[in-house]
C-alpha cells in the first residue's frame, strides 16, 4: 500500500521536490524538467551519464545521481517512462563537450522516449550514445539477451559508467565499459506479493499465500512461473542455478554480488538468504567481491528480492571501487 501522498497526480512532482530538499548537498533540480542533476554537472571534458525511467523504483533513479556516478536522472511518473521532451531537457542541462551516455533499463516506453530525445539532441550536435541494461534472465532466453529487460543490474552498469566518466574517459570508452558491464551482469528474482500504485486501493497483482512468483519484473508484472514457497536455502539455490546456467562467456571467478530487496522484504530475511547464497558461491569456486545486501532497485511496496551477479575483470573492478557520492550509494 502506498499511504503517504496528497493528490496522486502530483506524486512525481512532490517526490522530486522533497528529494532535492533532502539531498541538496548532492543534487539540484533540473530547471523546468522532471529530473535532478549532480551538483558538479556538467564538467567540461567529462562525459555526462544520464539515467532514468519511471518513478517507484527508488533508489533508481535519482538516488544514483552525484559526483562519480550519474550526472542526471530523468524521472517519469510512477511506472511510466519519462517523455522524450523531459529526456531532452535534462540532456540539454547536463550535456558537456565530451558527450552524453544514456543508460537505462530496456523497456519499450523508455527505449521509445530516450531514442526520440537522442535523435533530437544529435540533430543539435550533441553526441549522445545509449547503453540499455538487459540483466533480467527471466525476460528472454539465452541468445536473445538484447531483448531482456533491465532490473537491479542497473546499479552495476550505472556505477561503472559513472566511474569511467568521472575518470575522464572518452565517450567511446565510457560506452564500451558500460556495454561490457551490462554483458557481464545477470539478475533473477522472486516475488511474494504485489505492489500498489499511489491512490489505488488494490494491488496490481497478488501472489497466493504459500506460493511465490519466479522472474518478477520491477514494474509488478506477474512472474513467468509460479512455485510453492520454499525455505531460504532452496530459494538461494534456485536463484543461483538460474544465474550460473546463464553465465557470460569468459566469466572468470570474481563476481560483484547484489541481493536486492524489492520494497517490503525485511533486511534480516535477506541476510538469512545471503548466508546460503554465499555458501553456494564459495562451493562453485566463485569469489564474491564486496557484496551488497540492500534495496537498490525497488518496485514500490512489492515483496520479493532479486540476485544480481556481475562477473568482474580488472578494469571493471577498478571502476566499481572508484569513489562516488549519491543519496543511495557512497564509496569513499
Amino acid at each position: 500500500m502506498t499511504r503517504l501522498f496528497n493528490d496522486p497526480a502530483d506524486f512525481r512532482e512532490e517526490l522530486i521536490e522533497g528529494f532535492v530538499a533532502a539531498y541538496g548537498r548532492l543534487v539540484r533540480r533540473v530547471p523546468d524538467a522532471s529530473g535532478v542533476m549532480a551538483i558538479d554537472a556538467p564538467q567540461p571534458g567529462k562525459v555526462s551519464v544520464v539515467v532514468g525511467g519511471g518513478s517507484g523504483h527508488y533508489p533508481a533513479f535519482c538516488g544514483y545521481v552525484g559526483p562519480g556516478l550519474a550526472a542526471a536522472a530523468v524521472m517519469g511518473n510512477v511506472f511510466a517512462a519519462p517523455s522524450a521532451e523531459q529526456v531532452y531537457r535534462v540532456t540539454k542541462a547536463v550535456a558537456s563537450d565530451a558527450g552524453v551516455l544514456y543508460c537505462y533499463g530496456n523497456y519499450s516506453g523508455d527505449v521509445l522516449n530516450f531514442d526520440m530525445a537522442e535523435l533530437r539532441c544529435q540533430d543539435e550536435g550533441i553526441d549522445v550514445r545509449t547503453v540499455r541494461v538487459t540483466d533480467d534472465v527471466a525476460s528472454a532466453p539465452r541468445g536473445q539477451e538484447e531483448d531482456r529487460r533491465g532490473i537491479a543490474g542497473d546499479f552495476f552498469v550505472f556505477k561503472i559508467a559513472g566511474a569511467a566518466a568521472a575518470r575522464g574517459d572518452t565517450l567511446d570508452e565510457v560506452e564500451r565499459l558500460a556495454r561490457k558491464a551490462n554483458e557481464r551482469t545477470r539478475s533473477f528474482g522472486v516475488a511474494f506479493g504485489g505492489c500498489t500504485l499511489p491512490g489505488q486501493s488494490a494491488p496490481l497483482f497478488t501472489v497466493e499465500p504459500g506460493r511465490m512468483e519466479l522472474g518478477l519484473g520491477v514494474h509488478g508484472e506477474p512472474g513467468i512461473q509460479s512455485s510453492y514457497m520454499r525455505p531460504a536455502l532452496e530459494v538461494a539455490d534456485l536463484l543461483l542455478d538460474t544465474l550460473l546456467a546463464d553465465a557470460p562467456p569468459d566469466a572468470g571467478s570474481t563476481v560483484a554480488v547484489l541481493l536486492n530487496g524489492l520494497g517490503s522484504t525485511q533486511y534480516e530475511e535477506m541476510f538469512v538468504l545471503y548466508k546460503d547464497i554465499n555458501r553456494r558461491l564459495q562451493a562453485e569456486g566463485l569469489t564474491p567481491y564486496k557484496p551488497i545486501v540492500n534495496e537498490m532497485v525497488t518496485s514500490l511496496d512489492m515483496a520479493g528480492c532479486s540476485l544480481t551477479l556481475c562477473w568482474l575483470d580488472d578494469e571493471l573492478t577498478a571502476l566499481l571501487d572508484a569513489p562516488c557520492a549519491s543519496a543511495a550509494y557512497t564509496n569513499m
Binding site: A9, G54, G76, N77, V78, F79, A80, A81, P82, S83, A84, E85, Q86, Y107, S108, G109, L112, N113, M116, S139, A140, R149, L197, Q200, L204, F205, G217, H219, G220, E221, P222, I224
Partner: protein, 211 residues
C-alpha cells in the same frame, strides 16, 4: 466537418469527450493492463488527455494545428510508450491535415501517415497485440469508403473494423511492449491500447454525428 471554421471546434469537442469517455473507463483499462503489464494504461491516458485539453484552452489555429499541439502535450504529460505513440498519432495527423481541407480523403491520408509513424516508432506490426491492431483495420476501412462520402458517414462505417480489431487482440500473444515479456499470459485479454483507441474513435463519431 465541412468548413475550416467548424473543424477546430470539432477537435476541441472531440478531445473533451475523449477525456470524459476514457475517464469513465479508467479502471477497466487499468485492469486490462494489469493482466500482463503494469496497470497504468487508464491513468496514463487520462493524464495525457487532461494535458491535451489544457493545451487547447490556450492554443489557437486550424484543426491541424490544434491536433498537433494536443499531441505534443499528450506525449509529454502521459510519458511511457502509450504517451509517445498516441502523441505521435495526434501530432502526425494534425501536421498532415494542416489547414485543411478536412474531407474524408484528407483524413484518410493523414491517418495513413500517422499509422506509418506509430508503426515505425513502436516497431510494431499487425498481430503484435498493440493499438496498431485496431488502428490499421480502421484506417483501411476508412480508405475503402467512397472518397466523396461525408466524413461522419465514412467514419461510422469504418468503426466496426476498429472494434473487431481490438476484439481480435484477445487471442493474440503480445510481441511488443512490456507485456511482450509475459508472452502467453497476455492471451485472453484484449490489448488496453487497442481498447482505448476504439474509445477515442467512438468519441469522434459522437462528435461528428452532432456537428
Amino acid at each position: 466537418m465541412s468548413s475550416v471554421e467548424g473543424a477546430d471546434t470539432v477537435v476541441r469537442r472531440w478531445l473533451a469527450l475523449a477525456l470524459e469517455s476514457i475517464s469513465a473507463h479508467e479502471d477497466e483499462l487499468g485492469r486490462l493492463d494489469a493482466a500482463a503489464g503494469d496497470g497504468d494504461h487508464g491513468a496514463t491516458m487520462v493524464r495525457g488527455l487532461r494535458a491535451a485539453n489544457a493545451a487547447l484552452s490556450t492554443a489557437t489555429g486550424s484543426a491541424g494545428d490544434l491536433l498537433s499541439a494536443a499531441g505534443g502535450a499528450f506525449a509529454d504529460a502521459a510519458g511511457g510508450a502509450s504517451g509517445a505513440l498516441v502523441g505521435a498519432l495526434l501530432t502526425t495527423t494534425g501536421r498532415t491535415l494542416g489547414n485543411g481541407p478536412y474531407d474524408t480523403a484528407s483524413v484518410v491520408k493523414a491517418l495513413q501517415a500517422a499509422l506509418t509513424m506509430v508503426m515505425r516508432l513502436g516497431r510494431a506490426q499487425p498481430g503484435d497485440k498493440t493499438l496498431i491492431d485496431a488502428l490499421k483495420p480502421f484506417v483501411d476501412a476508412l480508405a475503402a469508403q467512397p472518397a466523396d462520402a461525408p466524413l461522419s458517414v465514412a467514419w461510422r462505417a469504418a468503426l466496426p473494423a476498429a472494434m473487431a480489431g481490438a476484439e481480435a487482440t484477445q487471442s493474440m500473444i503480445a510481441r511488443r511492449g512490456r507485456s511482450a515479456k509475459l508472452g502467453e499470459r497476455s492471451l485472453g485479454h484484449p490489448d488496453p491500447g487497442a481498447v482505448s483507441l476504439v474509445l477515442l474513435l467512438q468519441a469522434a463519431d459522437t462528435v461528428f454525428a452532432t456537428s
